[in-house]
Subunit: 221 residues, 2 copies
DNA sequence: TGAGTTGAAATTATAGATAATTCCTGCAAT
DNA sequence: ATTGCAGGAATTATCTATAATTTCAACTCA
């Protein structure tokens, strides 16, 4: 990774984003600039800029003069992100479809296979993100793609929060259906399947700290 | 405006956003932190934070160690924003529809009338934004609404760039059709009209600095 | 003409000062 | 005894001032 190219603020924001997404830092916990600054061996100014970036991605919320907290989320926000992804990824796919080459679709199929073989959440999520990115990037709409990227980050966070450790391998039929429709030039069918696929919200019982079990929800597509 | 509540960085970002949107600062021109800092009577640190906010809204782009520029835009980006707005506003309207009250619809009609009577771009834009905000806010999806807000800011910028001074009053049939459909409880029809409405791209010949005329484009909905 | 170098200007980072908020402790009142 | 309210210390966010890199352009010399 070309970390030397980036500014310190960018480096810090990437590292913090990774921790928030993976759940190392819990939702609602405070991000204290002096602590972060000390950890990264810098002063607090670049840390503040990193906070602004996280805020823009929706990973943190800041209240003036009261500091920054890791954004909390509930089932409502999971649904919201799922629906926004459905709307925007369908839009992106419609524009990308004419520019999709067999080579790209082959790589997307590789990503699907990698996802099916994944034995942990983390590698599944990476494969899944690769698939979506591959078929959407050719739409050539930078603003749209960057918004979708932020939504994927949120999705990954929900996913890791629910499926902290356990993960059962499963074959992704939707991805295959989308690829097959795209190969046949049937864009509308592919878009429709993608829209449904992304809105599917998985449900899983998890044990809370108090020993009780409750349901956790996440986007699994 | 409760400017004392905000932090200095927020105040600066709002003021700069306003200037960028209204076209006072031209696309591509550099934003120099020292100059801005001097103008606002502060140091450069809050200015840098303001720049990060503008970046997140898509109004500015920053290249590491090379400064911040006002984002440029072309017809492609106008189209992109129009399509994103169509997708997201339709989504928002579907969720807002069940919560719309006659009182809200009446206020939306007032906003439409105000837009029809507007004799300059600025007040038309404000009325138009009020209309959209009124019928979408009840969807209760904060993330979606804030994304739509950023897109509206971009739209306004395109609009002001094209219709710098001249503006001809026109009655907005789409807004009326949307309201009438909503009053009859026909959400799908309202959503379809809104989707088309927002994607309509106005076209207008403008004189360039070199005396030639070319076409300018903007979202007029 | 063109490559290399120097110097001014701007961005980025550091350290320190200021102001606000939180948290704790002690006292009073119910 | 417990709740509620001050007051003050400690923590934290915000801003200013200053220093260190980096970039860009102009100028010199081959």
């Amino acid at each position: 990774m070309a970390t030397t190219e980036d500014t310190i603020a960018v480096r810090i924001s990437k590292e913090l984003a990774d921790r928030i997404i993976s759940g190392v830092i819990e939702p609602g916990s405070r991000l204290r600039q002096d602590h972060v600054a000390e950890e990264f061996g810098t002063s607090h100014v670049p840390v503040r800029e990193a906070f602004r970036r996280l805020e823009a991605q929706g990973l943190a919320i800041s209240e003036p003069r009261r500091g920054v907290r890791v954004a909390a989320f509930d089932l409502g926000e999971v649904r919201e992100v799922a629906e926004m992804r459905a709307a925007l990824e369908v839009l992106a796919l419609r524009h990308a479809a004419p520019h999709l080459t067999p080579a790209i679709l082959d790589r997307a199929e590789e990503a699907t296979k990698a996802g099916d073989k994944s034995r942990d959440v983390r590698s599944w999520e990476e494969a899944n993100r690769t698939f979506h990115r591959l078929i959407l990037t050719p739409c050539n709409m930078p603003r749209l793609l960057s918004t979708i990227d932020d939504l994927h980050a949120a999705s990954a966070r929900f996913l890791f929060a629910a499926w902290r450790s356990e993960w059962e391998t499963r074959t992704d039929q939707d991805h295959r259906a989308i690829l097959s429709a795209l190969r046949q030039g049937n864009t509308e069918s592919a878009a429709a399947t993608l829209g449904r696929h992304v809105q599917w919200i998985g449900q899983k019982p998890v044990k809370t700290a108090s020993g009780r079990t409750r349901d956790a929800f996440a986007i699994v597509g």
